[in-house]
Subunit: 115 residues, 2 copies
């Protein structure tokens, strides 16, 4: 399992506009193989911004990589580029990708995955 | 839904020891109400460290908060304090908690949650 996160420092006062743009954005993720879930996350408040992060769970890194080369990715990001989203956050979004190396489920079972 | 993450900058060369300590650590998370899943994540490589993060999904912030005040939390962190884990990472773990404000599932359905 692979988790792709993109962190946004949203300027204070722009939280509602930022959330509304995400809510109204077209998503094509579910058309891709290996897509498990997408979440938009609202994180801690800091001096001049609130941390948000997109959070997409894929079956594997290669499913994620396949998405980044897809027509759906191109379409989703063409829209983002033309939208009013850019002035709402400070600097650039920061990408972080994570491999799941251990999982614990509600029954207490532990699973390790080769990273 | 609430996601609690604790970020660790693991010194290069200490990755295997860090992972083994987590794998062998006792977890009591599944004894708590509202626990959905725990994942240990291996993230990007940087100059002098590799970013790891614990990643715990709770039904709500209040379930997370209840866990932090529980006997199981105290036991889990007493063990961590006595272990050999501390010299393996740089600085302090950095905590970040996130509220889920939008979800997209594999059928393409979107759900918004009041943050």
């Amino acid at each position: 399992m692979y988790i792709a996160m993109n962190r946004f420092k949203v300027a204070k006062g722009s939280e509602t506009s930022f959330e509304q743009l995400w809510m109204s954005r077209e998503s094509y993720l579910h058309e891709l193989p290996g897509f498990i879930a997408f979440h938009l996350l609202k994180g801690p408040q800091r001096e001049d911004h609130v941390l948000y992060s997109s959070h997409t769970v894929w079956r594997s890194f290669s499913d994620f990589e396949h998405w980044t080369k897809s027509e759906q990715f191109r379409r989703a990001h063409a829209n983002a580029g033309n939208s009013a989203i850019r002035p709402l956050y400070l600097g650039h979004p920061e990408f972080e990708g994570f491999e799941v190396i251990q999982e614990i489920t509600p029954d207490g079972a532990k699973k390790s995955a080769a990273a």
